[in-house]
Amino acid sequence: MGNKTLENFWDVTLTPEEKERLEKIKINDLGFGYDIFGLNKDWLKTAYAVVKLLYQHYFRVESTGIENIPKEGRVILASNHSGGIPIDGAMIIMDVATKMEPPRLVRAIVDNFAAAMPFVGLFFYRVGQVIGHRKNFEVLLDNDEAILVFPGGTKDIGRLFKDRYNPEKFNVGFIELSLLYKAPIVPVAVVGAEEQLPVIHKWVKLGQIFGSPYFPVTPQFFLGGGPLTNFIPFPSKYHIYYGEPLEYYKYFSEDTVENPEMVQTLAADVRSKVVEMLQKGLKKRKGVFY
């Protein structure tokens, strides 16, 4: 899709205020309108124009604690991951871009398999998402970007519905990089995504055909369309909670990364903060759809 086509699309879809907001987002343009990962503002505006419909009208996202995200400088947002497909990531990115002043673009770390998939990998790169490799993480931190990680990984998003709101054990890579690069960690809890696509079974063989680790079977699969209706999410209402920044690097030296047990403890600490926010959010929630 040419950039002219994209421009025509977002030009008629976005309000002047939204255009102005998105224009304020800084990218490290290498001279042709793209950053080193392939992020491009026309694609970003187009994605914003599409996702805002889901954000405002379908999932009706509400959030608390956006002020906990630093206005500038490197920061790692660590969230639970749920709902079969990564809509939660898109909603967090959208929420930060919409509510922060000045707006920040959050760069989500996505799973490796996405890069091999035609269109999917391309789309992720163009809208600022980055394949999960330590070096990529380092480049982003060096550029003082805001990074979104799902330390529970693909296991977390593929959790079965019966295990909802019980995030997987957190991986430790983000803790190590937070200590090495002195980046604060903002714990993020997403309530509502678990119910959009309740995963009742993981169909590994079908997933492999599409280059994905598994195919998440949801109740929507049985609505008559099989795989076609499987990914139509229920309009559950999203509540996003941003916790206070955790600045472990102020108390632990860089050498802590050599201590696996301590790093594991810090990762577990972030997870417990996320779980705590999830529990509070669930108590406050009046219903799944409102």
Binding site: L30, G31, F32, G33, Y34, I36, F37, G38, N112, F113, A115, A116, M117, P118, F119, V120, G121, L122, Y125, V130, I131, G132, H133, R134, K135, N136, V139
Partner: protein, 320 residues
């Protein structure tokens, strides 16, 4: 890093576009004493303005051991005290496959570096390598440093394997105390008459991109490429260095700038169409060798070259 004094250089593949440009750059470089140029062709006219006091041309086939021996035992090699060898004799056309290509690119490289060490006269060996030696994978990081995995895939095209083998032959001599080996891994060198996969692709009558992919690509101007070689001659360095250009953008941007017609095709159809294109003379690009290059980014980390060599690209690639 200290700049060293006068060097006398041997350049193999001097009749290639880059070799010729390098020869001219070094000819006017006051820190270069004598240039011994070597290639398989007859002496070309474009060296006629070079003084015999500073330049000598020898016809040598690097696949022939006797001719290589004659080069190293020649009076001119000894008398002119050649101390630096720049190995650029490499068959780079994507169509250059088969025994001849292997003999020059791999066996020739081995013979040359071994001879340089054997004479004890050559203290630096500079090899022009390529970013194509790296393993290109979807989950590679956005920039590859010099320690990134190389493509040892047994199913890799011979064209790629030759590059990896030659690179490895040079790397294997890195610890030899008699010689400083410098391997320069260039990203896509793009310019008139340059034989590179990307140049062949951009010069196609119609370039077929793979549906659903548009990787980030870095292009390097030939003048920056020879500038990096010049730095490697003069700086007291050894090791592997990634050499990048100034221009980085998605592939489609460069196709547009070059005014190359671009049509997206699903991957399974690419090889059939590419074979047909090659038969018709509509492209020199070889899909088998360049398949991954059309799908995934291969951007090199320039940090080491910048820090140790002092290299920074200056020129934008010229299109059209």
């Amino acid at each position: 890093m200290a700049i060293s004094k006068t060097h006398n250089v041997l350049i193999t593949g001097i009749t290639s576009t880059l070799g010729r440009q390098l020869a001219r750059l070094l000819y006017y470089d006051k820190r270069i004493g004598f240039i011994l140029g070597v290639a398989i062709d007859d002496r070309p006219f474009y060296f006629d303005d070079f003084s015999p006091n500073r330049f000598h041309y020898m016809r040598v086939d690097l696949t022939k051991p006797r001719q290589v021996n004659n080069l190293f035992y020649s009076d001119i090699f000894k008398d002119m005290e050649i101390d630096t060898a720049i190995h650029m004799a490499f068959l780079n056309k994507p169509s250059d496959v088969g025994e001849k290509s292997h003999e020059l690119n791999v066996v020739g490289t081995k013979m040359l570096i071994d001879k340089c060490i054997e004479t004890g006269q050559v203290s630096k060996f500079i090899f022009k390598s390529s970013h194509l030696v790296y393993k290109i994978r979807p989950h590679n990081p956005v920039i590859l440093d010099e320690e990134a995995d190389l493509n040892f895939d047994k199913d890799a095209p011979q064209w790629i394997k030759n590059r990896v083998d030659a690179d490895m032959i040079c790397r294997a001599k890195m610890d030899n105390p008699k010689i400083n080996v410098v391997v320069l891994r260039f990203s896509n060198i793009v310019g008139r008459n340059i034989h590179s996969l990307m140049n062949a692709y951009l010069s196609s009558k119609v370039a077929f991109s793979i549906t659903g992919f548009d990787p980030m690509v870095n292009l390097i101007h030939p003048r920056d490429a020879i500038y990096a070689i010049q730095l490697a001659i003069h700086k007291n360095v050894k090791g592997v260095f990634n050499i990048v250009g100034r221009d980085t953008a998605p592939l489609h941007v460069f196709l547009e700038l070059n005014k190359t017609k671009n049509r997206a095709l699903p991957e399974p159809l690419q090889k059939i169409i590419n074979d047909w294109q090659k038969k018709m003379g509509a492209t020199d690009f070889d899909f088998k060798a360049g398949r991954e290059l059309l799908k995934y980014a291969v951007l090199l980390d320039p940090a080491k070259a910048e820090k140790v060599l002092g290299y920074k690209p200056k020129h934008h690639v010229e299109f059209g």
